[in-house]
Amino acid sequence: MKAPFTLFTARAYLNWFKGRRARSLIVKIIMLLLLVDVAYIFVMPILRLLSTSLMNVMDLYDPTVVWLPRRWAFENYSQAYTALAYGEAFRNTVLISGACAILQTLACALVGYGFARFKFPGRDRLFYLVLFAMIVPPHAIIIQLFVMVSKNHWLETYYPFLVPSAFGMGLRGALFVFIYRQFFKGLPWELEDAAMIDGASPLRVFYNIMLPLARPAILVVFLFSFVWHWNDSLEPSIYLSRPELFFMPQRLSVVEAALSNMRLRAMWGTGTIMAATLLTILPLVVLYVFTQRYFIESIERTGLID
């Protein structure tokens, strides 16, 4: 019997074993165990984070306390909330990440559509530039961007995040152009032809026909952009230095730096940092829980793969 690696093609496998339900059940259980194993690797750090965030100093140094703290140290959260200046940081992060994500979603859609559906001289060479922009590490240009931003007196403002986004650049803008282009390429041409014959202008075709169809791509780009802006720490750390402007990850770094003072740490404990970390990612987790179904479906349907 040639069986063990049929994991890879379960369809074949299940047909092969039709009528031998016991064996296919065993295979299924093994697969399930493997999946649970892998899922554990992914979830464990988060659970560990949650558990540590509820421990006070005593519990942290007590080797008999593994997952559940003896006494639930909810005060970690109130301390973290204050230390992060959560309300303010939350507002900054949501507003700017949201604005950048919306701008990028729109601008990159236009550009991706242009690359996918029009033939113009030099198009393919320009598209190589998109790919090129994708692989250049941001550090190769960050010094120049900094000089430019400081010459424009844009330091300590949010313009360095918003303006590039509006031009379809910004954080991984090239990748979004690429995603849109792949998506629009896969749509049937008849849609545009029909609208053009009816006399619609290209912008109108784009706005009234293509954009509504591009909902999966829009969702993917928006969510990626939002999440990546939220999580970005390179650019904010260079453009912003006034704490009241900080985004959440930067605040977290500040709290962290303050707690690297040992005496403070002994007082507050690692639990506070963990609580702060959890508070930082909490909005993203909530967002993900509500959107993950569409998110994953969309990625599978965007034709990212071509």
Partner: protein
């Protein structure tokens, strides 16, 4: 004005991409070019404003390789971890994707979990997770387990624990790859498998003769993505070093870190091109032949 359809089409295309062209020029090409230009000067933040710096030729580049005792080790470390990480991430994500596409209940839950690191995988946050928790992150944290392992591994135990923590870290970076593989697997025509089955092919040979060739373009995408991802990673020591040299050393030298950036960028670029050229010889596109 009267234009032929083709001309009008071309013009419209340019209009659509025009905003991006402007953005590319201002926020990418000009900075990149200036970075090259600055890398052969002794510019500092104070002198860059009034332009009173002078060209020193390749001195910055020579300094990077001969005087600077930190840069080269960081560079080698990055390359080393890349060589180890990329195959591990690819193999792991392919295996997980293969498991996750099996028709089974609860599949969507697993997929949602595998993608979680991408969503919350913020550099600072992941840094907290892995720095702070240290070896608690090892899958078995308890004292007993460690004692037990000590019997077998002796002094090697810390290395082993280090290896495990690192592999968790590596696996955490494979969320996007898993998803891309899942999408790729789903796009393979199921009739291919049916035909192979009728001919009596085993699952093993089906994997090598159907799944892998059909997946090869996706593998190429994933390799490229993984390389770029780890080269631009927050934890990348070279990038951190460049940042430190630029923004935290008191003089705010700009010429030297620019040169470091150029070296690094050329290395990435070269590597991606070599790998692309090499791997694309083995990729199979359905449209062809």
């Amino acid at each position: 004005m009267h234009l032929t359809l083709r001309r009008r089409n071309a013009l419209n295309g340019f209009i659509f991409i025009s905003i991006w062209l402007v953005g590319l020029l201002i926020f990418f090409l000009i900075p990149l070019f200036r970075n090259f230009a600055l890398s052969v000067t002794d510019a500092q933040l104070s002198t860059v404003r009034d332009g009173s710096y002078k060209v020193v030729g390749l001195q910055n580049y020579i300094e990077a390789f001969s005087v600077d005792i930190e840069f080269l080790p960081y560079l080698l470390e990055t390359m080393q971890s890349l060589i180890i990480d990329v195959p591990v991430i690819l193999a792991f994500s392919l295996a997980v994707a293969l498991l996750a596409v099996q028709p089974m209940r609860g599949n969507t839950v697993f997929r949602a979990i595998f993608f979680l690191p991408v969503v919350i995988g913020s550099a600072v946050v992941v840094g907290r997770l892995f720095d702070q928790l240290g070896n608690q992150l090892v899958l078995f944290r308890g004292q007993a387990a460690q004692q037990f392992l000590y019997i077998y591994l002796g002094d090697q135990l810390p290395y082993f624990i280090n290896f495990l923590s690192r592999s968790v870290f590596v696996l955490w970076r494979s969320g996007v790859q898993i998803l891309i593989f899942i999408a790729g697997l789903k796009s393979i025509d199921p009739t291919l498998y049916e035909v192979a089955q009728v001919d009596g092919a085993s699952g093993w040979s089906q994997f090598w003769k159907i799944t892998l060739p059909m997946l090869s373009p996706v593998i190429l995408i994933n390799i490229t993505y993984t390389i770029i991802d780890s080269f631009t990673d927050y934890f990348n020591t070279v990038l951190r070093y460049i940042q430190v040299v630029t923004f935290q050393q008191n003089a705010m030298r700009l010429g030297y870190p620019s040169a470091l950036g150029v070296i690094y960028f050329l290395l990435v670029f070269l590597l991606v091109i070599v790998i692309f050229a090499f791997v694309s010889r083995f990729t199979f596109y359905r449209g062809e032949r």
